[in-house]
Amino acid sequence: MKSRFKRILAATFSMIMVLGSLSGCGSSGGAETTGSGESSTAQGELTISVLSAITGPIAFVGKPAAWAAEYAAGIINEAGGINGKTIKIDMHDTKFDTAEAVSAMSQVVDDALVVVGPMDAPGGEAAGQVAFDASVTNIAAFSFPDIRAQYSPFAIAYMTDSEEGDLLAAKHWVELNPDIKSIVVFANPTDPSQMATAEMLESGLPEVGVTVKKIIEVETGVLDAGPAAVQAINADVDGYYIGIRADEAAKVVSELRTRGVDEGNRICATFAAFSPNYSDVVSEDALNGTYIWNKLDPNYDGEEWNKLVEAYKADNEGASPTVNPVPDYYNALMAIKQCFEELNITGDPAKLETEKAAIAEWFYNSPVIEGIQGEFQWVEGKKVAPVYFFQFEGKQPVAVK
């Protein structure tokens, strides 16, 4: 008798605890977003939700991206807002964690017309599902065509596809250096996008007469890139394509250079290496003469970009914006402005569904947009934009035409 009573007690107790504590917290989250959504129309304000990895291991990319979104909102508001409404950024932290990304997306998705971010591929793909379920356009890291197809038309890539850029850059590189006939590619076996790049180079380069002799695997966080460099040199090739992220790329290039790769032009690095984690870390001698490609040009000469650089420097103790998401997040916000103005979006909750559908349609195949670094366009959710090819002169990347 007593034990049964205890059992029932336990059951009710746990139920009460679960429901009580959960609904308490959950509703506060829910209320927050609904509140902001409603008040936005009331005060003539539009809320745009932005997700970025403000804390955690990629905060050094996430914080500049978040800054770019806030900056863009400031620029838009200075110019009178969108359709006469000021915009407000509702920033959420994804912590470079898929579950946090999904959670952040779930908090904004009910009232959102469009969501920018997450910025990392796993976070983007996971949170993209939530946005897709809610029919909300999501401008985020959808770097794989199959994922874009799965979430179409709501998955809009915030930057250009990397593999194509890699192939383009590699072709450009061997064209400039005709003596390069065989190369090795460094890639991270745990990063699907880098492995895809390596395969793309393997299949795409033979048509210009270059063979990929070996794919050398470099894991994230590798302490000593020596073994990888020795393997590469042993392969006896003319060129080294560094397809890995900045942290590891810096180590590999340093090792290659000290182990006898004397000519910088035999090395070409991917956009993922284009960061202070690469260019600040590799010594000037080692960097000199090597190639790299990127989705942004830090020295781009344009009024809008120069203004952004000045503002960034003022806010960040003189540092320049060098990470890709800065112009991409800025462009995303500007594209939203253009879209909302062309479609005359009101943000009225009553018209939410129709407006969401219209926005998705607009972005999925967008008009050509004048971005902060030249024109770009979305074609079936894929971003088509110029990429930039550089050769280092000392520590300075100089654009190659």
């Binding site: 804390t55 050094f60 020596g226 000290t258 590799v282």
Partner: protein, 291 residues
């Protein structure tokens, strides 16, 4: 053959760093019977302190080293009071979790406040002037040689300290039987602090050696070293100074070989799988004896 020798030297260079980290962690096992994963993160913070000093003092290496020693010692000692209440109530398992959270805090501190979370490199002047002696594929950088020699010297000095000085003996006595050690008049708080202080000094030395051999630092550095060092320590036997040294050097070698000659995607599984089997086979560690 040439490349094989190059890989061996690579392996020894990283192995010697692991060896010193394991040595530092083992020292903390002896004084407080804790597994201090956060120790690796303290080394990272020490490196960051050195880098900041270099930047603000205009490249004054002596000053940077002085600051690193101070920061290493102070930060390590500052973690001692955190562990003390747990040690007093004999909550050894909880100390693992506490050390992990020290790691979280230091990593996030780096992500937010040091170089905006980006990686940073140390100037060539602090890395032995970048002088390298190259024989084909064998690269013997001056820094690597200095690092290897210093690692050996530091390890020997520490072993000497632990066995031949009264303080060292006191630390070992505390590790062996805290109650008896107390009855002999060995002060619990003070000796612990001295142990942490020495570990902190060692952390500064390790930081300098990492600067010389790897030359870069970033928020992920602590995590990179932490788990592997702890597992290595267990592999050799907790608190076993000599065993830790040997197995860390050996592991450095194995890892370099694995990276060079095994398919990359399986290395991790093989590495940890073998270690786990050895630990299960010999729960007191390869060199351990039952307490």
């Amino acid at each position: 053959m040439e490349s094989f020798i190059a890989q061996v030297i690579n392996g020894l260079a990283t192995g010697s760093i692991y060896a010193l980290i394991v040595l530092g962690m083992n020292l903390l096992v002896l004084v407080r019977d804790i597994v201090h994963q956060g120790y690796a993160h303290i080394i990272m913070i020490t490196m960051a302190a050195g880098w900041i000093t270099l930047n603000t003092s205009g490249g004054n290496i002596a000053m940077a080293i002085a600051v690193m020693v101070v920061v290493g010692v102070l930060v390590t000692m500052a973690t001692e009071p955190l562990f003390r209440p747990l040690c007093k109530r004999g909550a050894q398992l909880e100390t693992i979790v506490l050390a992990m959270s020290v790691g979280i805090i230091l990593t996030e501190f780096m992500s937010q406040f040091v170089n905006s979370g980006g990686n940073f490199a140390f100037p060539a002047s602090m890395r032995g002037g970048g002088i390298t002696l190259t024989f084909g594929l064998i690269r013997l950088s001056l820094a690597n040689i200095i690092a290897l020699i210093s690692a050996v010297v530091v390890a020997l000095v520490l072993l000497w300290f632990m066995h031949k000085t009264q303080q060292g003996r006191a630390i070992r006595a505390m590790a062996q039987n805290l109650r008896v050690a107390k009855m002999l008049g060995i002060p619990f708080g003070m000796t612990g602090m001295i142990g942490f202080g020495i570990a902190g000094f060692l952390a500064a030395i390790i930081a300098i050696l990492i600067i010389m051999t790897i030359g870069t630092c970033g928020p992920s550095l602590g995590d990179t070293f932490a788990v592997k060092s702890v597992i290595l320590m267990l592999f050799a036997g907790m608190g076993n100074l000599k065993g830790g040294l040997l197995s860390a050097l050996f592991m450095g070698l194995i890892e370099a070989m694995a990276l060079a000659y095994l398919p990359g995607s399986w290395t991790q599984a093989i590495f940890y799988g073998v270690i786990m089997l050895v630990i299960i086979w010999k729960p007191n560690g390869l060199f351990g004896t039952a307490k």
